[in-house]
């Protein structure tokens, strides 16, 4: 500071802000209240009704499976990740999303392992939050599907009451006992292998066999609309996925109605709603540009129809999303925004 003169007013008035109190921070000095932890926790909270719904439909073991997946994810973040990364909520969210894709009878140790693999291999290996290419929850789920195909496709029937402990819930690691639960086929499985259709109303409300969180389309849509309103998810992604699935399946259904189900069944069955609203919209693994979001969503929608109709599996949402995740860097590069005052395609 320069030598101060002692004018009549000098020093007295603004003294409150001096004495080393003046902060020097670069502009802007205002900040929107949104933050990364707030986004993660808000998404988590919108999933809680789904957790409650699955507990109501599948019994307490649903809650246990989901908790186990969260435990695995958070534990991996704690053991392998940088300190303090748990409070941002991203690991808990990954675990919760993974848990919602699992069947209620899954042995708990598998759920823990899936959460750990999702965070460890799906996220931390790439460098942690913001660096991963593939949706970590789906990486965990894909791992489980490959490692334990039977356990992952054993769907207990819904509505067997609250306190039921079905299947091998407490089986020791690598000991899978006999399956003694009352199992039911998923609507997609029924359709694919037995060509039996399930009423769309049951699908919409969620009282059908399947993964924990994929049963109630209604709750997922409500959560999605809220998140889109808060701008915590890019609405273009679910809208384009659902539009392409509806359009493509209607067209194919029109050609062979006996073999291929129509749009309402396709939209509300399986993991499509959960995938379109909560998985495909993961900010890290989806495009940053809005035009990219349309392309990405359309690609997922087309792949879902392709896999469900002609693939070897009854459900294809997980692989469709993981496949399109891989293209996100290219989509982003190809859809750079047109800079103000330039023409699209003009040399930079």
């Amino acid at each position: 500071m320069t030598e101060r003169r002692d004018g009549p007013r000098a020093g007295r008035e603004a003294a409150a802000v001096e004495g080393g109190r003046l902060a020097l921070v670069a502009s802007p000095h205002l900040k929107s209240p949104d933050s990364t932890p707030r986004i993660m926790w808000t998404v988590t909270i919108t999933l809680l009704p789904l957790v409650a719904m699955s507990t109501w439909v599948f019994g307490v073991n649903a809650l246990l499976v989901i908790s186990a997946a969260v435990l695995g994810a958070v534990g991996a973040e704690r053991l392998l990740g940088a300190g303090g990364a748990i409070r941002d909520g991203s690991a808990a969210l990954t675990g919760l999303l993974l848990g919602l894709t699992l069947p209620a009878s899954l042995p708990l140790w598998m759920a823990v392992l899936g959460g750990g693999v999702g965070i460890g291999f799906g996220k931390l290996l790439f460098g942690g939050l913001g660096q991963n290419i593939f949706n970590p929850a789906l990486v965990g789920r894909a791992f489980l599907q490959a490692a334990f195909p039977t356990a992952l496709t054993t769907w207990p029937d819904p509505g067997q009451g609250w306190g039921i402990w079905t299947g091998d819930l407490f089986a020791l690691p690598f000991f899978s006992g006999r399956v003694d639960a009352v199992t039911g086929a998923t609507p997609l499985g029924l359709m694919k292998f037995e060509e039996v259709s399930t009423p769309v109303r049951d699908l919409f409300v969620g009282t059908t066999a399947g993964s924990l969180g994929e049963t109630s389309a209604l709750l997922i849509v409500i959560g999605g609309i809220y998140l889109a309103y808060r701008n915590y998810l890019n609405w273009r992604i679910p809208v384009s996925i659902l539009a392409v699935v509806a359009g493509l399946s209607s067209a194919i259904h029109a050609i062979d109605p006996a073999r291929f189900p129509g749009a309402p069944f396709m939209l509300f069955s399986g993991g499509l709603m959960l995938g379109a609203v909560y998985m495909a919209t993961d900010m890290v693994t989806s495009p940053v540009t809005n035009s990219g979001a349309w392309i990405y969503g359309a690609g997922i929608g087309a792949l879902v129809v392709l896999i469900r109709f002609w693939g070897g599996l009854p459900e294809g949402v997980m692989y469709a999303i993981l496949f399109m995740n891989a293209f996100v860097p290219f989509i982003d590069r190809a859809t750079q925004p047109r800079v103000f005052g330039t023409r699209r395609g003009a040399p930079a």
């Binding site: 500071m1 320069t2 101060r4 003169r5 004018g7 009549p8 007013r9 000098a10 007295r12 008035e13 603004a14 003294a15 409150a16 802000v17 001096e18 109190r21 003046l22 902060a23 020097l24 921070v25 670069a26 502009s27 802007p28 000095h29 205002l30 900040k31 929107s32 949104d34 933050s35 990364t36 932890p37 707030r38 986004i39 941002d88 942690g128 939050l129 913001g130 660096q131 701008n231 890019n234 900010m283 890290v284 693994t285 989806s286 495009p287 940053v288 540009t289 809005n290 979001a293 982003d332 750079q336 925004p337 047109r338 800079v339 103000f340 005052g341 330039t342 930079a348």
Partner: protein
């Protein structure tokens, strides 16, 4: 009905953000005059372009309105004494941009009547366009919105370009600032007179005043007082930051985009802020050069938020003291608004011609926030008014790939701060971009110097 719809569609640009405007603190507070402080500091560097050259000696007596600095070159203006007194020193003073600047310190004569010599600026009615430009330059008039670009340069469109529309910037989109708002409410005729002067000078027949809709009283007053013989339209614009940025305002008013790297005149427009236009009018009305300006002093850290007429060169400390001082939890003093204003380390820095406001923030706003990695939410792409990809640019900056940033139009960034405002991971994007732009400019300067040296060497050989 269709007219209303049209007006609504017209009144905006794409993207941008909606920060809380906080204008209620001073939007209804009439402009008051601040008493002369005991001393004035006048830096020679107050405007865009070349700084003025000192022409006074320590010990010399100056009257209010006397020139203390001469312009150097075309893009430069003189500096005038804003109070009568004795030149106490020619020294370095803290500049609001954080540097030090050569300045004249004047000890204000407490017994002076502070009346300038009569008619330092001639009557406008007797002048032709060239003489008006010369008079505007001699009066030291610059844009008062912040950039302080010399007004006489704007009044002279480049060879071969025609100005169709004069766009008057009454957006005042920075939160807390209300000085332009109060000018429009209290002195609408002065705004219209300034527009008349500029239109005559530019040879345009049409002017549009763009005002954001959060200032309905300003829109009403400007419409009530429209002169019958001029084609002036007052447009109510949607409230959005940064509406007051030149290119955004042109887009909002005319629907046209100024090409990247070009000036507004390429789409037939000149943009001038209302405060500056009122200042032009005032200069010709009173005959005094630009020696004072209207400053909003506001923010949660100020005891009495006010709109003040402040002599240019008054120290920030003295202005704050006149407003009752700062609250005990005051933490940051900004010259300008909270989005683009510069934080002050030293309250001895003076109010300059381009200082539109002094905003004092408290601990609550100045709280440092934790930075998270980019999660690719894309909010910054939706906020950027020039459609850049701040997310990508930020990652490139982190990797030190400045050349790629340039290829991705970094130089179109005007550091408005919208991306930083929305970033949920609190990444200081606009600060990173300001640094990168500076580095690229310095590098370009070095390259040019090396090239011209090589060319000279070639000639010598």
């Amino acid at each position: 009905m269709i007219g209303l719809l049209e007006e609504w569609l017209r009144g905006g640009f794409r993207h941008g953000i909606h920060p809380p405007d906080h204008k209620e603190a001073t939007s209804a507070v009439p402009i008051r005059r601040m008493p002369f402080p005991s001393e004035i500091v006048l830096p020679m560097r107050q405007h865009a372009g070349a700084p003025a050259r000192l022409i006074v000696q320590p010990g010399q007596r100056v009257e209010r309105g006397d020139k203390v600095g001469e312009p150097q070159g075309h893009v430069s203006v003189p500096i005038h004494a804003s109070a009568s007194g004795r030149v106490a020193a020619v020294e370095w003073c803290p500049h609001p941009d954080g540097s030090q600047a050569e300045a004249v310190r004047i000890e204000v004569d407490p017994h002076s009547a502070q009346i300038p010599r009569p008619r330092l600026v001639p009557r406008w009615e007797d002048l032709d366009a060239d003489q008006v430009r010369a008079a505007v330059k001699e009066a030291g008039v610059v844009g008062l919105g912040g950039a302080a670009f010399p007004t006489h340069v704007k009044l002279q469109p480049p060879e071969g370009e025609r100005v169709e529309t004069l766009i008057v910037n009454g957006a005042e989109c920075e939160p807390w600032l209300t000085s332009d708002h109060r000018v429009m409410v209290e002195h609408p005729e002065r705004v219209h007179f300034g527009i008349r002067i500029m239109m005559q000078c530019l040879g345009t027949s049409k002017a549009v005043i763009g005002v954001e809709r959060n200032k309905p009283d300003a829109v009403a007053r400007l419409r009530e007082t429209l002169p019958a013989d001029l084609d002036i339209e007052v447009i109510a614009l949607r409230v959005k930051y940064p509406q007051g940025a030149e290119k955004m305002l042109i887009r909002a008013v005319t629907g046209e985009e100024v090409p990247s790297g070009k000036l507004p005149v390429h789409v037939g427009t000149v943009v001038q802020n209302v405060g500056s236009i009122a200042a032009i009018a005032e200069v010709f009305e009173t005959g005094y050069p630009l020696i004072e300006r209207i400053v909003t002093v506001s923010g949660p850290g100020v005891v009495r938020p006010s709109n003040l007429v402040v002599p240019v060169g008054t120290r920030l400390r003295d202005v704050l003291a006149f407003c009752g001082g700062c609250t005990p939890d005051a933490r940051e003093v900004l010259a300008g608004g909270p989005m683009m204003g510069a934080p002050q380390a030293d309250l001895d820095a003076p109010v300059l011609k381009g200082t539109s406001g002094i905003v004092v923030l408290t601990d609550a706003e100045a709280k440092p926030s934790r930075v998270y990695p980019c999660i690719g939410c894309g909010h910054c792409l939706d906020a950027c008014p020039v459609f850049l990809n701040p997310s990508l640019l930020g990652k490139e900056a982190q990797a030190g790939r400045y050349a790629e940033m340039e290829a991705h139009h970094l130089m179109d960034c005007m550091v408005c701060g919208s991306c930083s405002y929305v970033c949920p991971s609190n990444i200081p994007l606009s600060q990173i971009f300001a640094l990168a732009k500076g580095a690229l400019r310095r590098e370009a300067g070095r390259r040019r110097a090396a090239e011209s040296a090589a060319a000279d060497g070639g000639k010598a050989a």
